[in-house]
Symmetry: D2
Subunit: 314 residues, 4 copies
């Protein structure tokens, strides 16, 4: 059941009663200018996973992979349809997907408890489309700032974290210390578990009877830490960003407790299903774990989230 102590760790009203973008407000123009100075090598990393339209796609239980069909291509003309005026030909396609079914940004209203979502909006604004705290406003605003990578798998010396394995606040702090990373207001914090690559590499992981990913383990302290460090986004290379079935004393057996409190109370965005292999390799080589970061959700009116292909630039 929801925990009143967790609800006291809150940023409701901090940016006014009409706010729909929460912790993105931390990223002031000066922070963007400062973050841009991190671009030193001119190297670009794209952090989205492929949309493959098949069962390889890492999707949450109950969702189906994306679909994609050509509406026209070279065969259209082979089949006898006249060329377009001037002798032109073309190929186009249509696609369908769960907005949370590939690399994506949640909106702040995506999950909640009791009858209120982020900033105290009534949960009824979610019905039939997210009328408040949806993905449209942050998509309009942009998600641009300083990103940092916590390579937890490397820090722990493993290829990938095991199913259900917790990542504690201490892990976060020690990994950051080892990497020489400090946390700054407005940061986009990305942590690496190796889980998504492992799902592709070891198909038997998908056959586990229970969906139970590794990830950050909820605690009141960890929630408070998010509020105090004032980061704007937390992202991971897992489908659900956090430990699926909580082993935390405060939330034993809850699923995804950070989803319950973090967006709703603190206004921090959750990004999921990242592909971090090339970025992590580069960070390990040059020892620089900070970068300029841009994610740009589609401006989906009423949307609960949006697919993104985030970009890290060093």
């Amino acid at each position: 059941m929801p925990d009143q102590r967790a609800d006291k760790i809150s940023n409701w009203g901090k940016w006014g009663p009409e706010d729909e973008i929460g912790a993105l407000n931390y990223i002031t123009p000066d922070k963007i200018v400062a973050a841009s100075k991190l671009i030193k090598k001119g190297k670009v990393f794209t952090l989205g996973v492929p949309l493959t339209q098949d069962s390889d796609e890492p999707v949450f239980p109950g969702r189906t992979p994306s679909i994609r069909f050509n509406s026209i291509d070279a065969s259209t003309f082979l089949a006898g349809r006249p060329l377009l005026p001037g002798g032109r030909k073309g190929a186009s396609d249509w696609m369908g997907l769960y907005t949370h079914g590939t690399t994506h940004s949640d909106s702040l209203g995506h999950t909640w408890h009791d009858e209120k979502i982020w900033n105290g909006y009534d949960e009824k604004v979610t019905i039939g489309g997210m009328a408040k705290a949806g993905i449209f406003k942050p998509a309009q605003h942009g998600m641009v700032g300083r990103g940092v990578l916590l390579d937890i798998a490397r820090f722990k010396g493993v290829e990938y974290l095991k199913a259900g394995e917790p990542v504690t606040l201490d892990d976060f702090k020690e990994c950051a210390k080892k990497e020489g990373v400090n946390f700054q207001i407005g940061d986009i914090v990305i942590y690496r578990t190796g889980w998504i690559p492992a799902l592709f590499k070891y198909p038997e992981l998908k056959k586990a009877p229970e969906f139970n990913e590794p990830g950050i383990q909820y605690s009141l302290d960890f929630l408070q830490w998010f509020k105090d460090t004032a980061i704007s986004v937390i992202a991971a290379d897992t489908i659900g960003m956090e430990q699926t079935i909580s082993t935390a004393p405060e939330e034993k057996g809850s699923t995804l407790p950070f989803h319950k409190y973090l967006m709703r109370n603190v206004g921090v965005y959750i990004h999921e299903i990242y592909w971090l292999e090339a970025l992590a390799e580069d960070c390990a080589q040059d020892g620089v774990y900070e970068f300029f970061y841009v994610a740009s959700p589609l401006k989906i009116k009423l949307g609960t989230g949006s697919p993104i292909n985030p970009v890290a630039i060093k």
Copy 2:
């Protein structure tokens, strides 16, 4: 009919026989570092149009607007479904859209003539999904660099260009001169017609018997200019980026002749359906028409294009 003179203005093979990203190759790491210096105010402009799911959406004839449905929301629990473990609730959605049906990047293989697409790949690679020169490779690579805005509507002193109105190479050059813009290798060149905003503001424009947008008017000289200036992307606030029904002597009556030659022969990316109002206003105010630019297509395997919400940062 396709023009052999135009086919001689070509970059095939320039980046090897296996290349699938064309003019994006121009954007070397040093250019990205240089472009990052344009971030001075920390101001972000997102250039995508809203996905509204209704007939407001500016789509090419024959395509339908996007669709979006909630798969779960607060009503699910109001209707009696048990809360998720721990008392959590959530809202999610699914969407379907033409990949070229909102602000998007074409892939280099999107249009062509005769039996060859970009870099000489046989047109059969487009069948059932773009196996070569599709959107996957540029999505993996990233589209990051220096952007420049040519505000043609402002240059011409009009709110928006009229249906079918041509924008000539001279317009481009003079507008750039007036704005103090020089063109650099690898640039993302965006020009503003005011057409998309006008479609929203003046619905009667949509009722024209013929689909005929304003835009750059094809000529061999203009095509050669694209090759010589070595830009990587050309974008506009229209559905088709260029004059729909060509009034060019070389291509009288052709539709979208740049689509026929520019991607196929020269390897320049076409981006369409931009929303440029806020960016244009800012440029007019501070007189700075260059900026750091990031667009990040989704990594759609076999995709012919991808929706994007491009970001300009000044």
Copy 3:
């Protein structure tokens, strides 16, 4: 506002508190056997409209036409994919559509007023999928019986009824008398306005500023007539089956008042967007306006309706 007098014309509870198929219960096995005797010529009429995927499709405002894409076809093999084992090739497709967006059967829960749907089920059963009185149960049951055609357009001597033109209960009775049709318990009653064919033939009809179809004009008497005659289905060749904007004294300005009362209170099914031209022609020629009727909705769990291609056999 809903009319309490109309709510007294009710069949709630008539077939038990668990009933989900309403007036279909009238069609007892003996009636099916009797109806089968109407098959005398062995002539089959299919009453669905084509699914064309384009703006020709007659859909209710706010819905979009169906979409359909090939997932594989001859071009797949032309493009170099190996033949299936044994040298086989194939073509398949995927489609998306509003279940009420082509010829279809509504479920009894499709429309209602106040907080109750058919048989008194709470309206919350409609949320996220129709858990009661949806299309699944009637699809499982089948819609088989005696059909009768009232050719109102022919009766009135017009090619098609005008926009908003009312069809009264007297029209119904007199048309039936002229045709020699009596009404029997459980009948599927289909009436013809000529409207759908006119939409195809006279595109300007679609451009009317207001969506306002011709059709049966609501009245308490007409509602009572439905209850008393005990028919099971009412169908028409319009998108909404009834006069769109009511000119009835009891429901002035209401839209689709039969939709408000007929399914909810009386349990009569509404079928829409029929194509009746060939059937009507045949009936006019042989003077026989009754036939064996089969419609077979898909067994869509939680569905609010289903596309059908109804069959009339004489």
Copy 4:
């Protein structure tokens, strides 16, 4: 590889060079009248499987289950949207599905070999939509006639046939003899394996490493039998209607060889994924294995097949 002997067992041209409905031509009006006499009890059996939107749905490898979303329901009004004029409320939905992904009728052009489909049409007519021998023409025509059930599982005394288990022509003949069924020109022949119910009941069957259903085993004799008996439709309660991986001497290792020859050469329709439990039970009880049959594909222009919910009436 395709077998020239099989190609000699052909009905090409039998109904003219323009024919697109093949063996449905056998069902002349007198046969429909005769079949209607089989309606004696007034009992209706609907033979479609449920569309459940989840992994329970029996779909061919590479296809995904259907999807369905509400576009409006009671929650829309709970969330504050005004009632429709007159106080009406409504619930509607949208769905997406593979046309061969639930109970369905193939079109004659659905599978083929070499460069020709049914009646000799060039395979290019399948590209981007089936321009010839698609589902539109038979949907317009109707599929109405005499159906017979061969309950092979009962005949063999098993609950369901094992994976890959062949059903031979002799099985067919002997089962028919035991049931007292004779075959008549134009018949819809349905045989029962128990496989689809077993897939629901024994989930481990779905986990087999190889997709290999039981079903009729191809042979030249069996193909000839189809031609000679002049049936119009062959249907089964499996996903692929026939033995998946052929154990026939003529087609060792071929997949679905009847698909290669039967529709293409002989013009017999294939219907798949039937639910036959209630019908089979009834036939076993009254000993009557023949019935009036109606299937009614949707009139999908260019469609390769259509979902159906077939009806058997005794």
